[in-house]
Structures are given as structure tokens and as C-alpha cells.
Amino acid sequence: MRKKVYSLLSMAFFLILFSGAGWAAADPEIEAVYKRVVKEIPGVSKELLAGAKKEGKLMIYHLVWKEAIHEMIKEFKKKIPFIEVDTFMASGGPMHLKFTSEVRSGRAVADLWQHTAPNETDKAAREGLLLNYVVASDGAFPADMKNKGWWYPPAPHLIGVAWNTKLVSDKEAQILKSWDGIVDPRWSGKCAMLDIIAGGTGHLPYYFFDKEKGADFWKKLQTQKPLIFSGIMPESERLAAGEFSVILHALELGPVTQWKKGAPVRWYFPEPALNIPVTQAISKIAPHPNAAKIWQEWTMTAEAQTLFSKHTGFAPARPGAPDVREVVKQAWYYSPKKFYQYKWEDIERELPRLKEKFKQSFR
């Protein structure tokens, strides 16, 4: 009697199990979505889609490019219609503070987190705040633009030299193609630069100047008497207004934002070009991990990288992804070929000394 009951129960269990699996496999929406996106988003599987559909939501903590994220979400929804995407936007510091505090206290709010400082994202990975997930496009990114499985770059932060075209002639601007051009005496009292304490984009140039360009370069930089700005946006805005002629090291985001509005600004990338990848990682306690993985997979495809680049104004981070920005059609614009190789650990180690040196030289 007991045997019969067990047999019946086992049969019932397997019936439920298989009918469930059959139902999942036969979900026409998942099938249709899978067929549509499998080539566009190579890493997506039916299981991932089924899990994401069950989750139904995605929360992205993104940096200050709302319009671009909205455009990305529109495109994402066309591909994966059953995931509702919510967003939270902040600049790097507050975002880092909020995300890390939430994950440490077990508050599962964010699925994906973008940040501007790879060293901080690496630290978060080491601390166990991130989920390791290797995207299918992993091989498409060079080693210095990712931390395998922990984070991938939705965009690069390229650092160049920007000038106001009403105050600097095309001929004069030619010397800004080289880093040595920024210490030319003609810019003395007519230039600006970012404070060293203004995040990673402030740290890298001074590390590069100190380590690679030598003491004489630093002295000349000092004699330029630059105005010091706390952020790239107010700095670029003043450049566009004609307050000074040149920004000695400018994150491309600043001048490109002004240029898109029609302001008389241009920029070059002296080589070796300085580049900091923006990072995008999945939270260890992501409430919607499947949806997060799909977003991560999609945003690292060439198609999504091009789209993001088009709406932010950055170059695509993925080598080979088409760069369709308006600015690349301009005769004066060129993309850098040679990049400066560095390690964030080295910058972090040198930072206290560099801050003090900056303070003595420029404050």
C-alpha cells in the first residue's frame, strides 16, 4: 500500500516537473524573444530569459547620462519587452557610497552599478559586493578595459586637451597635439585644469605628468598659472564662454557636451592618450540577477556600445564597434591610437605625495 502511494506521488511529482519544464520551454514569448535576440546578444539563453521574465524588473544605478540611458532602455525594451527598467542616477562619489552601503547592509536594491573609478570597483569586487559573471563578449575587450567577470566598460573616459576656437587659431592649436604643447608659455594665465582631488579623472593626468614627463614639465605647468576647477562641466562651460583659451587636460565628456550645443570648442588627444574605463558591474545581492545579466550581455555588444556612444558623446569602449558620432566626421577630430599603460594600484600608492605636490604647486 505504502509502495503504491510512493509510486503515485513520484509519478505526480515527475508529471508536475516535466509539465512545468515543458511549459517553460514552450512559453511562446520566451521562444520568440530568444529567436530574435540570440544572434544580437550571444550570451543570452532561454533559461536566462525565463528567469528574467519571472523577475520582471531591473534596477540600474547609472552615472550622469540620463538621456543616453533612456535611449538604451527604449532599445532594450524592444528586444526584451517583459523587463521593466527602473533607474537611479548620481555622480560617482554619492553613487559609490550609496551602492556599497546598501550591499553591505544587505539591502537588495540595485542590480547594476556604474562607476568612474576602476580601482574602487575592483575593491568592491574584492570585498565580495559584486557578482562574477563573464559575458559572452568578454574576449572583445582588452585586459586593461575590464576585470574579467567583475566589471565591463559601457564607455571609456578619454582625456585630451581642449581649446576655444575663438581664442586659439587652428595653427596655434597644432601644438596641443602633443602633451608638451600644454606647457607652452603662450597659454600662461589663459588656461585651466581640474583639481587633483576631483576623482580618478583628476588623479591620472597628474600621475602621468609626474611619472612620465619629469620635473621640468611640472615646473613649466606651474608657470602656466591655471585656474583650478572642481568639475569638468563648469570648466568646459567657462571655456565655451571664453573665460580662458585652453583646458590643459579635459575629459572628453566636457568639451563634447559643449560642442554638441554649438559652442566654439575643439579638442585633441595627445599621445599617449589617457583613458579610464567606466565600469559596470552586477551586485552580489542583485534582486533581479537574470535581468541584470541580460543587460550586461547586451550593453557589451558592438550594437549597444555604438548606441551608447551615439547618445553620450563618448567613443565606444569596445574595439571595433562602429563610432557613429557626429564629431568623428569633423576634419579636425581624430581618435587616439596609442594609450598610456598604467596600474591603478600605482596611482593609489603615489596619490598622497601627488596631492601634496599639487597643493604646493597650484594652491
Binding site: D195, E237, A241, G242, A263
Partner: protein
């Protein structure tokens, strides 16, 4: 009294202890910790405290902070008091209109004020300097906003109405017979002002001086925007950098937050001593009176000129620059038709911006109303309860004033995230944060009014058989009506422009106008922020005008 007020005092003490001490405990903990709460590998450390107090790196920022706060205070308070006296006690023309206009500078947040003055007063590209040099043919610039005097100038313009709001209430509550007596005894206008009026408005002057000193010392936007280019660093700007750029440097921000605490706590203690002396200046007694208006003769036009010049600098020029900038593609003094666009306003037509307006009005309206009730209760307990709990409540309420807003916001974030509070992630957490941050300001307004009310009035009520609660409701509260209006207005504006706590605690569902403005600023520069700044300023102005009109208190405010 003590018996009756025991439960109320205990309740208020517990409530504000929870609100205020929780974030402060987390902040102090953070100053002695090497990471965030719950961070693996983090441990006790003296590093942050050593860096802030002993390394010398914070000495120059400290001196700059004190210098800016002091200069702002000593310029804004006398000028605000002068304007209050002109508008409350003299026959200056169009008084009612002028009284309404003077609080407009507060609507323009200091951040937007700094940005608009950069557009006006930047040495080579500011509109004022361009007009001065290109059109008026002058060889030298008229002004350089990137300077210490530029910082103090912008802060002076912003803080004058605060001094005005404090002093005008005291002047209107004052029995004019005292001044009449002085004049009958041969005292002229100046002698009466110096010997009679000034001592009577001392509590209000001290309150406004304290408020302005503390607000100036903790303000990061103006010194950061105008001081950084010329290497002027302040403690708030260092804290701002540590939080906004460092992320992982929040512990340094916490330690730096404690540094400003000692300064402002010292200021508060001095303030208490001064107010204690001033409590003998009770001016509201059982007698009825009407404030007397002084005829300035032709001097009224000079007074009007002084007022209008202030209004030109604090409202007209910045507002025009905001308005002009909000229609431009990018900021430049080289104006042409091709430069103008409606895009900055079209960008605002996103659903989330409407949500931001709705949330801001909810937080400011409901929050200010709840806070006014809480502030009255706190002030009443603090001033009318003669035991240690009352004094503790008074000191506790002032504590958040002592901490720079960004550092306090970090403490709030750590506290609200770590503790199992269900408010985190909702709009209510913002309400709690705002109430915590601004409680002390509201309490000071009520305290400076309450010390002017003779306790004899309350005693008479109680002798007639009314309970202390009924006395508070029927006697004290109506006498506090002008203070309630001032406090509500001030808190409404504070809540509307609050950014430091909002940026760390908001979600996509609880976004506010200030956060939206901050985001626009971060994304596209100041012109996008100008557009939302114009919308924010206009909405606040309309809402306040309607609220005052509907409540009937508009008349009280203006009269």
C-alpha cells in the same frame, strides 16, 4: 508645570533624540573607522582624525571657512536688520510690495546664485564685465567673482533676507510706547535706535547672526564654485570633494564634519549666554498696541534707493542672467539670435520632472507644516520646562546645525541603511532627513519669539483654570502666529532647495526638483540647471503667495 509637562517633555526628548542622535552616532563612528558600516576588513583608526586635526592639511580650509562665515555674518546681519527697520518702522514707499520681494533671494538656491553670478561676474566672460569693458569702454574689469570678496558678496546677497526675517518679527512685536518714551525724553531716531530698539531686538539679532554664521560656514556650493579656481578651500568644499569624488573617502568627510561641529557648537554656547541675558527684554505683555511708523521725510527715497539697489543685485541681475541663460544653447557673452533655443525647457518635459515637482511640493508643504508643530513643541518644552530634560531638548535640537549638511547626510545614509527601518527607499525618509536637518532653525525662530512673550500671560490663563496644554493652544500659539509664518516660509524654502541629504537618499520615485537640477547640472552644465532653477523659483514663489493668501496670514506677514 513640570508635572503636567512631564510626558510631553519625555516624548519630545525621545523623538528628537532618535531623529538626531542616530545619524550623529554613525557619523562619529565613521570618523574613527576605516570604512563604511559593515565593510569587511574595516577597523578602528585614528587616521581620519589625525588627518583632519593634526596633519595641518585642514588648517587653511578652517581659516578660510571662519573668514568667509564671519565676513558674511558681519555684513548680512546689519544690512538685513537695517532693511527690516526700514520696512517695519518707516514710511518708505510701496512697503507692502517691498516686504514681499525681499524674501525672493532665498528662493534662488546658493548653487544657482553662484552659477548666475559666474555668468555675470567672471573676469573675461561675465555679462557685467563685458558690458563694462566693451560697451562702456573701461580698461579694467568691474568685478572678479572668483575671489574672496566675490564669495562673501554672493553669500551676503543670499543671507540678508534671513537676518531680515528674524529681525522684522521682533520689530513688529515690540511695544512702540518704549520707543515713544525715548523720543519724548529727547532721544532722536539714532539715539532711540541705539539705546532702545537695538537692545530689544538683540535676541533676534543673535539668532540671525548665529544662523547666518553657521549656514555660511557649512555652505559648500558658493565657496566651491567661486573659490576653487583661485585655490580657496573651505572645510565644506573638502567634505564635498571627499563625498562627491572620493566615495571611499566618506570617513574623512565624517572626521572633517566633526571639526566644524566644535566651531558651531562654540558659537551656539555663546549664543545661549547672550540670549539668557536678553530674556529680560520681554516686549509682549498683556497690553494691546500698534507699531508706530517713523516719517523719514525725504530720507525715505534714500531708504528706497538702498533697498532697490540690494534688490537689483540679489534678484534682478541673477534672475535675468538665469532667464537669459535658460534660453541659450551654451553660455557666452557674444549674443546672437542663433544662440537662443527652447531646448532647455523642452528637456524638462519628462515625466520624472513632473514627479520631482510633485514630490518637492509634498515634502516642502507637508514637511514644513509638521516641522512647525514639532518646532513649537520643542521650543515650548525647551523654554518653559525648568528641568534638565528641557535644556537637553534645546541643545539636542541645535546639534544638526553644528554638522555640515553633506557630512550629516552621510551619517543619515549610514544610519537609515544599517538599521532595520522600513522608511529607507521611500519618500518618508527624505521627510525625516529634512526635519532632522532643519529642526534647529525652526526652533530658534520660535525661541526668539517665545522669549519676548511674558510668562505672566500664560500664568494668568492657568490661574483662570486652563490646563498647560489649553494655555499653549489658546494663549501662546496665537501670539506665535507671525513666527509660525516666518518658520513655515523658511522651512518650506529650506525643504525645497535641500540637496545634500536628498542626493544620497532619493530614489527614482522620490526624486525632488533640487536633485533634478543637480542632475541637469552634472549632465549638461549650468544652462540646463538654469531652466529648472527658473521653474523651481517661480513655483516656490507662486505656492508661497497662494499659501499666504489662502491662510489669511499673508496680511500678517506683510503687515
Amino acid at each position: 508645570m513640570g508635572k503636567w509637562f512631564g510626558p510631553l517633555t519625555a516624548f519630545i526628548f525621545l523623538l528628537i533624540s532618535t531623529l538626531i542622535l542616530l545619524p550623529l552616532i554613525f557619523l562619529v563612528f565613521g570618523a574613527f573607522w576605516s570604512g563604511g558600516p559593515g565593510e569587511k576588513g574595516a577597523s578602528f583608526t585614528w587616521k581620519n582624525i589625525h588627518l583632519v586635526y593634526l596633519s595641518g592639511s585642514y588648517l587653511s580650509p578652517l581659516m578660510n571657512t571662519l573668514k568667509i562665515a564671519f565676513l558674511t555674518m558681519v555684513t548680512a546681519v546689519p544690512f538685513g536688520a537695517l532693511l527690516a527697520w526700514i520696512l517695519a518702522r518707516t514710511n518708505v514707499p510701496c512697503r507692502k510690495l517691498l516686504e514681499l520681494l525681499i524674501i525672493i533671494p532665498i528662493f534662488i538656491s546658493p548653487l544657482i546664485g553662484a552659477l548666475s553670478w559666474i555668468a555675470l561676474g567672471a573676469p573675461r566672460s561675465g555679462f557685467v564685465n563685458v558690458i563694462w569693458t566693451r560697451f562702456l569702454g573701461q580698461s579694467q574689469n568691474l568685478m572678479n567673482i572668483f575671489s574672496l570678496s566675490g564669495i562673501v558678496f554672493v553669500m551676503f546677497l543670499y543671507f540678508v533676507p534671513y537676518a531680515y526675517l528674524f529681525v522684522v518679527g521682533a520689530l513688529k512685536n515690540m511695544d512702540p510706547n518704549i520707543e515713544d518714551a525715548s523720543r519724548m525724553l529727547g532721544g532722536g531716531i539714532l539715539t532711540t535706535l541705539r539705546r532702545v530698539t537695538f537692545p530689544l531686538i538683540k535676541p533676534a539679532l543673535y539668532s540671525s547672526a548665529l544662523l547666518i554664521f553657521v549656514l555660511s560656514a557649512e555652505l559648500f556650493s558658493v565657496p566651491t564654485m567661486l573659490g576653487t579656481p583661485i585655490r580657496i578651500q573651505t572645510i565644506p568644499s573638502n567634505i564635498y570633494y571627499a563625498v562627491d569624488y572620493g566615495g571611499g573617502m566618506a570617513n574623512e568627510a565624517a572626521a572633517a564634519g566633526t571639526m566644524l561641529f566644535w566651531i558651531t557648537a562654540g558659537g551656539i554656547l555663546i549664543y545661549y549666554r547672550m540670549v539668557r541675558e536678553s530674556r529680560r527684554y520681554v516686549t509682549i505683555s498683556g497690553k494691546g498696541y500698534q507699531p508706530r511708523i517713523i516719517d523719514l521725510g525725504k530720507g525715505k527715497y534714500i531708504a528706497l534707493g538702498v533697498y532697490l539697489f540690494y534688490l537689483l543685485l540679489s534678484v534682478v541681475l541673477p534672475y535675468l542672467s538665469l532667464l537669459l541663460g535658460s534660453f541659450m544653447k551654451y553660455m557666452t557673452p557674444d549674443l546672437s539670435w542663433q544662440l537662443f533655443t527652447l531646448k532647455n525647457y523642452r528637456d524638462l518635459l519628462l515625466p520624472e520632472n513632473f514627479l520631482a515637482i510633485k514630490n518637492t511640493l509634498f515634502l516642502a508643504g507637508v514637511g514644513a507644516s509638521i516641522s512647525v508643530i514639532l518646532c513649537i513643541l520643542v521650543s515650548f518644552v525647551a523654554l518653559r520646562t525648568k528641568n534638565w530634560l528641557g535644556r537637553a531638548v534645546d541643545y539636542l535640537a541645535m546639534l544638526p546645525i553644528s554638522i555640515p549638511a553633506i557630512a550629516l547626510a552621510v551619517g543619515m545614509l549610514w544610519a537609515y541603511i544599517t538599521l532595520p527601518l522600513y522608511l529607507y527607499g521611500t519618500i518618508w525618509i527624505l521627510l525625516v532627513a529634512y526635519m532632522t536637518r532643519f529642526l534647529g532653525y525652526g526652533v530658534r525662530i520660535f525661541s526668539s519669539s517665545l522669549v519676548q512673550i511674558d510668562p505672566e500671560l500664560e500664568e494668568a490663563s492657568r490661574i483662570s483654570g486652563a490646563s498647560p496644554y489649553r494655555t499653549m493652544w489658546r494663549i501662546t500659539t496665537p501670539l506665535l502666529r507671525p513666527a509660525m509664518l516666518s518658520a513655515w516660509t523658511m522651512l518650506f524654502i529650506f525643504f525645497t532647495v535641500e540637496i545634500s541629504a536628498s542626493i544620497l537618499l532619493y530614489t527614482s520615485k522620490s526624486i525632488t526638483m533640487s536633485v533634478a537640477m543637480w542632475n541637469f547640472l552634472a549632465m549638461g552644465g549650468s544652462i540646463n540647471a538654469f531652466a529648472i532653477g527658473i521653474v523651481q523659483t517661480t513655483i516656490v514663489f507662486i505656492v508661497l503667495a497662494i499659501a499666504h493668501k489662502i491662510s489669511g496670514s499673508y496680511a500678517v506677514f506683510v503687515e
